[in-house]
């Protein structure tokens, strides 16, 4: 979605360098996303429902993305460990969607089963200013849905939500995607942990 080309399009060589992913016009995406939100708004009564609709739409994308991106890896691997999967989301899925890795991936201090992916300038939130009466609505709900779709399909069911978080020193609030995994996932992780023998 987000191209990071420094040069004008006519100055760039037609042949892409190896590492460069193919990109889609950001304006085209912004229009499409805007339409998705406008359409969803005609079908819902509350902000929570709107977020829910975006999450459902994202979920469908996420399941497909996981299958596609793992197939495209050099050696297709199943993601059996939680951290492997989260790293995959952070370093493979994010560049595929937004042209860069997520700004941070961290574990919540308070709880073992909560992880966060944060992005200061999430491409989804560009050109969108949320009206005051919509409260805490975050268009990043689509990204949350995608992440949820990936986690669910890989067998790591979790509750995923998006939040705006004010960070001191930044003019914009950053978008944080919070993942809270189900107890069964954490139990399996503990079981898979290699024992020191």
């Amino acid at each position: 979605m987000a191209a990071r080309h420094t040069r004008n399009i006519v100055d760039r060589p037609i042949w892409k360098s190896k590492g460069e992913a193919s990109t889609v016009s950001f304006s085209a995406f912004a229009f499409l996303f805007s339409e998705l939100i406008q359409y969803s708004q005609t079908k819902v009564k509350s902000t929570a429902e709107l977020e829910n609709r975006l999450e459902v739409a994202g979920g469908e994308i996420g399941r497909r993305l996981l299958e596609l991106l793992t197939y495209r890896e050099k050696a297709p691997k199943r993601k059996t460990r939680l951290l492997d999967l989260l790293k995959f989301v952070h370093t493979t899925v994010w560049p595929y969607m937004f042209g860069k890795t997520a700004d941070s991936l961290e574990q919540a201090n308070a709880a073992d089963d909560e992880y966060m992916i944060s992005d200061v300038n999430l491409a989804l939130t560009k050109y969108i200013s949320v009206p005051r009466d919509m409260g805490s609505f975050n268009p990043g709900a689509l990204a949350a849905g995608i992440v949820k779709g990936i986690l669910d399909a890989a067998g790591f069911p979790a509750r995923v939500s998006t939040h705006y978080v004010d960070v001191p020193g930044l003019s914009k609030p950053q978008t944080t995607i919070l993942m809270k995994f189900e107890p069964s996932v954490m139990q399996r992780e503990a079981r898979l942990e290699p024992r020191a023998t």
Partner: protein
């Protein structure tokens, strides 16, 4: 990518045998003496629900039942392989599971994708190359990814992947016909 794979695997899939009037799929390249054949292919969903199962040997219900049974048994073998703690942790994540178990007259191979979709291939009992099987699974995976990327695909619905294998096989048959000069390929 696909084109490359097709070239590597030229002529690996099927033709219609004029004698038995059945559709068959060949695994090893025609250059080698031995030819093992895929006799059955199946896609199994996340909850071990069959999404697609097709036999290539003959259409009689008896053999269909037999392959249903073989594929069903293979699910246990898959589960065992996926859950079994291995010495090498990297091995645990490999999508290709290798030989699941041999039956009297065929061998069963398995492959599990990252979304817990299982592919099962039943190959008749002839010498084969491990690499060929892996290559076929990879193309199988490709076909599945293509089918899933269709926005009208509903996850876990039987029949949604209906055309995928058919296209997968006929695509190869098409390739064989055009590159190897084999006529009479019918589905």
């Amino acid at each position: 990518m696909l084109r490359q794979l097709r070239v590597n695997c030229a002529g690996s899939f099927g033709t219609k045998s004029p004698r038995t009037e059945t559709f068959s799929a060949r695994v090893s390249p025609p250059s080698t003496q031995s030819r093992s054949m895929i006799v059955c292919a199946a896609v199994i969903g996340q909850a071990n629900n069959p999404l697609y199962i097709r036999c290539f040997l003959d259409e009689s219900s008896e053999s269909a039942l037999k392959f249903h049974y073989i594929v069903h048994c293979s699910l246990d073998a898959i589960e065992e392989k996926v859950l079994a703690p291995k010495r090498n942790p990297a091995e645990l994540q490999e999508a290709y599971l290798g030989l699941l178990y041999p039956t009297e007259d065929c061998k069963v191979f398995g492959y599990v994708t990252s979304t817990h979709i299982k592919f099962v291939l039943v190959v008749d009992d002839a010498p084969f190359k491990e690499d060929d099987i892996q290559l076929i699974f990879r193309r199988f995976h490709h076909a599945y990814v293509n089918a899933v990327s269709n926005p009208f695909y509903t996850f876990g619905m039987v029949g949604s992947v209906g055309n995928l294998l058919t296209r997968f096989i006929t695509g190869d048959a098409y390739h064989v016909r055009h590159c190897r000069g084999m006529p009479n390929i019918r589905q």
